[in-house]
Amino acid sequence: MMKTNPIFDERLKKVQAVINHENEHVLACFMGQAVPPTYSDITLAKYMSDTEVGLKYYIDFVNRINDIAPVDCINFAYPGAHQAALSLIWWSKVKMPGEELGENDIWQVDEKKLIQDGDYELIIKEGSAAVMNRILPQIIDMKKIEQFFEYHAKDEMIAQQYTDAGYPVLNSGLICPPFETLCGGRSMTAFFMDCYKKPDLIKEAQDVMLEEQLKMIASRPDRDYVIGEWIGGWRGASGLVSPKIWDNLVWPYMYKLALALIERGITPILHLDQNWDRDLERFLELPANKCIINTDGMTDLRKARKVLDNHVAFMGDVPSQMLTVSTPDEVKDYIRRLLDDIGAKGVILAAGCDAPTGSKFDNLVAIHEVAQEY
């Protein structure tokens, strides 16, 4: 059991209220996993590789913002064992700072065609592990996968540190829809060609993968500190793929994964990169007051509010570019205009997608400062 404290409890209540659309005020959420080293005496490489030190720097950094204006919650915790996490969900090599990249270069996905011809059939016949276990050693040192599991074995202890610091962490896991995993492992160009030439085969493979995920979600032990989990969508954005692909290969999977999380009392946080305007109505299929959609400035939240009203909570959507190049006043202005239009009900302010390493400190603070006005 977690030991809580009054500040944490109060913020957790606010988070629950916002998901239920019962909040009076807007919430401001910290998002920027890779930013702390930019403003600390540590390289990004060291911050990423030494998880104990990295976690400490991360919380210190959030505290620095919180000292100026309240950080009501955190989107993602410190990205410990991040390379393994990304490799596991996306089946792509991730180049890391201090390894393939310079000490302070942000990690970078190096997408190659690793899913070979015949692999969809293999997934259908033997399950996704048959393919993943072949791909993983090609993209990451398997020791790091072990370290990933060791790191996450301590999740409860880590969660306690955020609780002690007073911050509810919204996302405690990554759920990757099969469409995205296959796209990463096959590489985008080849995968979209497959979607054109053999959609039925992909669907069959995705169904197997979905079944595995649903079983995994249903059978996991309860973790009382978990608020929500990330369900990612980027290659499957409505702004990119045709309705036929979206209806068939993207949405049904996101939807079922979301329902499975809800079944376990976990809030699905649908991380929607790029533009999802065309399909906003479909989010009405999700149960009301149970989900958050996390947009990046490309989806029109004004339209989303009209279409979805108070059905799902909104998290976002300060465009990440703004954080690096705009002024704090511009950031505040962007947020004020948004909130004046859509109101504060069910709204969590945060950087769209993620805050880049080059984000100005004052711009990050601006999100939390302006939140106090609403």
Binding site: A34, L86, W90, V94, D105, I106, W107, Q108, V109, D110, E111, M188, T189, F192, M193, C195, Y196, K197, G232, W234, R235, S238, G239, L240, V241, S242, P243, K244, I245, H271, D273, Q274, N275, R278, D296, M298, P319, S320, Q321, L323, T324, V325, S326, C353, D354, P356, T357, G358
Partner: protein, 198 residues
């Protein structure tokens, strides 16, 4: 302000953006125009930094951090640095081929480039046109209207039917868009002039 012109080489992944950009860069070097290149790091044909340096170019690679952000956030920073430190006739930019290019316009205008100083050259690979229409229709609908010029490439390997279809698709989304058909390996200087514009 700056007199540089930005040429964007847009188009879906693997369409031939880098190949065409490099040909244009070589041509600009020959006619003694100063230019810089900004590329998105991912791509089948990397840019040979050393070779470009010999031609007098510096290549800036822009990195995206998040696995899902295909849009690079450092474009604007890079542009600002370039314009502060160099006198450039052209800045050749290859945005990521994985996302709708509309997202980069705010960064360009915020760095002081007006629509007249931006030329969006969209490369359409006719050999994959059927896939684009079936799978990536929203991508076409978002990106073709933004183009100032279209290039149908790979005519050395595409069929006449595919080329026709590509012309039709371009028309469908952008009625009067000027278009050339090329094989990048046989590109003529006049074609390059047309592509880059005046």
């Amino acid at each position: 302000m700056n007199g540089s012109k930005i040429v964007l080489f847009t188009g879906f992944l693997g369409s031939g953006k880098t190949s065409l950009l490099l040909r244009c860069a070589r041509n600009l070097a020959e006619i003694k125009k100063s230019s810089a290149i900004i590329v998105n790091e991912v791509g089948e044909i990397g840019i040979d930094n050393l070779q470009m340096k010999k031609m007098g170019y510096t290549v800036w690679e822009i990195f995206g951090g998040c696995i899902c952000c295909t849009l690079s956030v450092s474009l604007e920073d890079t542009l600002t640095q370039l314009m502060t430190n160099y006198e450039l006739d052209y800045i050749l930019v290859e945005p990521s081929g994985a996302a709708d290019p509309s997202a980069i316009y705010p960064a360009l205008s915020h760095s002081g480039f007006s629509k007249e100083n931006i030329r969006n050259v969209m490369i359409l690979d006719p050999t994959r046109i059927e896939m684009f229409e079936a799978v990536l229709e929203p991508y076409l609908a978002a990106s073709v209207p933004l183009a100032d010029f279209a290039v149908i490439n790979k005519i050395d390997v595409a069929t006449a039917v595919e080329i026709k279809k590509t012309e039709r698709v371009i028309k469908q989304y952008h009625q009067d868009l000027p278009t050339v058909q090329i094989d990048v390996k046989q590109l003529l200087n006049e074609q390059i002039q047309k592509i880059i514009g005046g």
